[in-house]
């Protein structure tokens, strides 16, 4: 440890405890006095602490045989020198980092389904903005399958479904989400979906009422009017449009306007060829045949009857429908008698019900 002498009091001090100002060395006590004097004169002195090259600046180790080498501006011992130049990362930090990386990788693998669901969610959201609702619905269904409690996904799915006229999917998604409860009942997304939902449900209510009226003889006109109101209220639904057309067909049937009846049923079949619409065309041709006895009408009725039977097999719901209306059309072709559903049921099915009741 090196010593030096103070330029003011000439006392011997350790170099590390001395300071320098304007090339003069001071002990700590004299440095304070000198500073106070210069402060009073308005130009305070600037001091720098002297460095003892025989003492390590970091750990304070005394080099008894000479000076330590300077690394940049400081003398550092053989232990501290390399440490200061390249301070080591502690072992616990390295291990923590390694642990975090492993955990992050595990989380990414574990969260694959989340990323899939998230991708489908954002894709669905993007498609909704592009008004591609049917495409969006498919993607959002996948998100809701993985995350049925996601407000955003459920609201988007319900919106996409309602905008394609798919009330059933919307209803299923909403009921599967906390029984239809959402975190923010005042959010713009929720209110938008609710407005759509209310409109769709009101329209579905009207079409159900119209279907009830259509089953009552003589109220077909009233039913058709209500059906068209429903279709106009919820124009996104192809099912309501189809139902309204079917109610028009029922009016034509009631008025015995079988050409009008056939024209409406052919229009429905052209737009949506399935077991149900094929059955409608078969029914109309059967009426025409019953009225005119024209063999071409009979041939068409038979052709569409076979088509309806075949197409209905693809869907259990349609098959069930066919089992109900099929025998009535067959009766119409075979007997050339045009009777309503109610008349047919009274004539042929009332005893079946009684049998079933017994």
């Amino acid at each position: 440890m090196k010593r030096t002498s103070c330029s003011r009091c000439t006392s011997s001090v350790f170099l590390k405890d001395s300071l320098t100002s304007n090339g003069k060395i001071y002990c700590e006590a004299c440095a304070v006095d000198f500073l106070n004097e210069t402060k009073a004169s308005g130009q305070p002195a600037i001091f720098a602490r002297n460095i003892d090259p025989s003492i390590c600046a970091l750990c304070g180790k005394d080099n008894t045989i000479g000076d330590f080498g300077f690394r940049k501006k400081l003398p550092l011992c053989e232990t501290c020198g390399p440490k200061v130049e390249r301070w080591p990362y502690p072992q616990w930090l390295r291990l923590s980092l390694a642990g975090l990386i492993i955990l992050l990788a595990a989380s990414l693998v574990h969260g694959r389904s989340y990323f899939h669901a998230g991708r489908e969610l954002y894709l669905g959201e993007k498609l909704i903005k592009q008004a591609k609702f049917a495409e969006a619905e498919a993607h959002l269904k996948e998100t809701v399958r993985i995350a049925p409690l996601s407000d955003k996904a459920v609201l988007l799915l319900a919106k996409a479904a309602l905008l394609t006229g798919d009330v059933q999917t919307a209803s299923k998604a909403l009921q599967g989400h906390n029984d239809g409860n959402f975190e923010d009942g005042q959010s713009a997304d929720f209110l938008e979906m609710k407005a759509l939902w209310d409109r769709a449900i009101a329209a579905v209510g009207k079409i159900n009422k119209a279907a009830e009226l259509a089953n009552q003889d003589g109220r077909e006109q009233e039913a058709a009017k209500l059906g068209h109101e429903a279709a106009q209220q919820y124009p996104e639904s192809p099912m309501l449009r189809y139902s309204a057309r079917e109610l028009d067909a029922a009016v034509a049937f009631a008025k015995k306007d079988y050409d009008g009846f056939l024209s409406i049923e052919q229009g429905s079949y052209a737009q949506h060829p399935d077991g149900s619409t094929a059955g409608g065309v078969a029914n109309a041709w059967a009426c025409k045949y019953a009225m005119t006895g024209d063999p071409e009408s009979k041939r068409q009725a038979e052709e569409f009857f076979a088509k309806a039977e075949q197409l209905s097999q693809a869907d259990p719901e349609l098959q069930k429908e066919f089992e109900e209306y099929g025998p009535r059309i067959r009766y119409r072709i075979d007997s050339r008698q045009i009777i309503t559903k109610r008349e047919y049921d009274q004539k042929f099915r009332s005893h079946q019900k009684e049998k079933a009741a017994k």
Binding site: W87, G111, R119, D151
Partner: protein, 178 residues
Amino acid sequence: MFFIPGIVITVLTFPGVIVHEAGHLFFCRLFGLQVYDVCFFRFKNPAGYVIHEVSDDFTAQFFVSIGPFISNTVLCVLFCTAAFLPVWELKIADPLAYFFYWLGLSIGMHAFPSTTDLKHLWERAPALAKKGNALAIVSLPLAGILVILNYGRVVWADLGYGILVGVLGPIAIFKALV
């Protein structure tokens, strides 16, 4: 606004302090600056520090001062991205996701450089900016904003920043990928 002692917040978000100081150390090592002492975490103010030489090289000074802001922000986005979907969008109660979200937010909260870090930049940047030094030009507004945000810590600007980065970062990533 309710008051929670700073030390409580610091303890609850301690990983952010460690990552911040590790960031300083990383950039010191990267630019070959001497480091005299490091504290990754302690129950005092400041909760961590790295004492290093003041470099004459502005680039080194810039990265040592601002580096932790960048690295903490990047790590916040990374960890929050891993957890963002189940926590925010999908509402899936996954403990691992919540752990990562806490980690990400903690790291994001401690992104701001200290006023001491910024002081060195603030002192040297104007002269270098006049000479056309790109980093100095960038660092002037950045340091200014960060100084303001540092003072904003009393009104939870640090937590606000963490949440902002931890939510908007992942959203930006996912939207860019889709």
